[in-house]
């Protein structure tokens, strides 16, 4: 039962298509561009090229180069344009190709976008979306493989989204574009080809609502982004070992639905958290600390964390594959946690 449990089924009366996550993103963007003339996209090679990941293909043809704008290689500059544009009546979507490049735009995102509403005493608003990527195993080495979402999750004033399925990607991206706050939206490069059901018609998914991607009773696995897929694969294996895993996908790092994670951990009394960012001082630390505190009196064992190995991502495939959580590594941790060694 690796189908999303609480999601598609909620949509009724509409056809459901199988589509890739990349296409779901593309559809969300196209629909919002159609709906709201204030929405536009700016980034490197976003127009005719449709980005190196081809996720934006076809948009410039429909919306023209005034709304799908190829920019110079100026991550800080274009993010700054996004902030200024958002403050003055537009709803910019800034495309930062590789998540590693947010390092170039942190001042604009953190010192400007995140703080302007508060610093102005609530008068100015920054309805900005920064779309970027995360995820390793693409053989692009240390500067093109990082998952740096912990940085922005740390910052008050920002919202942070990590979709794990085509359905979630589309619905969450729509919410992001309609939100009046700066939102950083992380797409896993390795999931663009992942297929899943997406209903026809407009829908959006609220921020701060975790999704239980699989119901189980023995161990809770909290997973983000593509790690949800890893967890689902692990759960299949665990099922055969008679370990029933419940998979909780927070979907948004902020706002964070602590209640759902904690409730699941209380129910199963064991929890693992998985994320593709570096483990040290990363997202797994926050999620694990929240569960350890919230489910303290219910846990039978310590919360276990599985992040990316704390090394720069190596190029060589034989090394790179060792750095990320896999179904096998999740299964091992789950077995240990459930006393099956």
């Amino acid at each position: 039962m690796s189908m999303p449990s609480t999601t598609i089924s909620q949509q009724s009366g509409q056809g459901v298509r199988e589509m890739t996550l990349g296409k779901a993103i593309n559809e969300a963007l196209a629909e919002e561009l159609r709906r709201d003339p204030r929405v536009f996209i700016m980034g490197e090679d976003v127009a005719e090229a449709g980005t190196p990941f081809k996720v934006l293909s076809g948009l410039v043809e429909e919306f023209g180069p005034a709304r799908i704008i190829d920019s110079p290689i100026s991550e800080a500059g274009i993010t700054g344009l996004g902030v200024g544009g958002a403050m003055t009546g537009m709803r910019p979507i800034i495309d930062l190709m590789f998540g590693d490049f947010i390092a170039l735009a942190m001042d604009q995102i953190v010192n400007q976008a995140a703080k302007i509403h508060y610093m102005s005493g609530g008068k100015l608003k920054v309805p900005l979306v920064v779309r970027t990527t995360l995820g390793a195993t693409r053989r692009t080495a240390a500067q093109h493989s990082q998952s740096l979402h912990a940085w922005v999750s740390h910052i008050p004033g920002l919202k942070v989204v990590l979709p794990s399925t085509p359905y979630d990607a589309k619905g969450l991206l729509k919410t992001a574009i309609r939100d009046d706050n700066p939102v950083v939206f992380f797409e896993d490069k390795m999931m663009y080809q992942l297929k899943g059901p997406v209903p026809e018609g407009d829908y959006s998914i609220p921020f701060g609502v975790a999704d239980i991607k699989r119901v189980g009773s023995d161990v809770t696995i909290v997973a983000t982004s593509s790690m949800v897929q890893v967890a689902l694969a692990a759960a299949e294996i665990l099922e055969k070992l008679d370990i029933s895993a419940e998979i909780v996908d927070p979907r948004t790092m902020y706002p964070l639905d602590k209640e759902t994670m904690i409730a699941s951990a209380k129910k199963t009394s064991r929890a693992i958290v998985i994320d593709e960012g570096y483990e040290r001082y990363g997202v797994t630390a926050e999620l694990a600390a929240d569960i350890a505190e919230g489910a303290f009196y219910y846990l039978d064992a310590p919360v276990k964390r599985l992040g990316a190995m704390d090394v720069p991502v190596p190029f060589s495939p034989v090394l790179e594959d060792l750095t990320v959580p896999t179904p096998a590594s999740v299964v091992e941790v789950a077995k240990t946690l459930c006393g099956r060694v």
């Binding site: 500059g77 958002a86 009546g89 001042d107 102005s120 008068k123």
Partner: protein, 338 residues
Amino acid sequence: MSQAKASKAGKEAEEKLSQGEADRWLALYEQMLTIRIFEEHVNQLYITAKMPGLAHLYTGEEAIAVGVCAALRRDDYITSTHRGHGHCLAKGASVDRMFAELLGKAAGYCKGKGGSMHIADQDTGNLGANAIVGGGAGLATGAAMSSKMRGSDQVAVCFFGDGALGQGVLYELMNMAALWKYPVIYVCENNYYNEYTHNSETTAGSMLGRAEAFGVYGEMVDGQDVRAVEAAAQRLVARARKGEGPAFLLCDTYRYHGHHVGDVSRSYYRSKEEEEAWKANRDPLKILRGWLIEQGAASAETFAQIEQRVEAQVSAGEQFALDAPYPDPSEVAQDVYA
């Protein structure tokens, strides 16, 4: 490299100033004086320990904010800097709520959450002072982009100090403003110092040449002569409003006080003589006042009246702020998200 066109001053001097003209310059004089007196009060608030934190005074540079903003409409945008009180006032902010902000009071422009370095006032198009050097460049250029995208004819002015020429993002933005003809005017307030370091030690090549190399039209102007600044600003704003693209206005100026109110021993980085020479020979208030008197457009008495009025208004604003309540503690968690 374009030089500033000769100021109109010469030609005009020969004609008689109309009453309308005279009143207009007197109004700008009053604005400059308001900034001057406001800042002196801020300094006193610091010295008497009534103001939390520090402030970077605009004293000496008044002609730039006032001259540039005189060329702007209320719905045009500005972005400002750590040395931002002058820009705010020139764009139309009122002294009482500015003082309130500086004192961290609820009646401040930002409910006391922003303070001296973050005053923003949406109603007058002020997108905020910024404590990141160069931080306004993205916001102003983005606002100009927005104006163009929305089919509006609003322009955006980005005020910044010579120190901001050290921030690479400024060039990224000038490049894009030039590429896409955004109606933005970059106003560089060159007061020769980056904090405690002279800009000859920090800035190579040509300041104006930098703008031009990125395709941004540039002019240079005497930043102490409000009439020259205003004339240049009118030209550049008109260009931008017509869709002819961005411009860069390099203004020579000087700050009379320290980098911030606490910077009182300055001899290690600049001389008393240098300071005195600027105050004696290039004071923007003196220059405008001298010209108006020379024109027979105003008397010493007029100026005395203005001074009295401004002093009263600023004092009243200060008192308002001193008496105003602090924000409620619950405010701390408000306005994080819209």
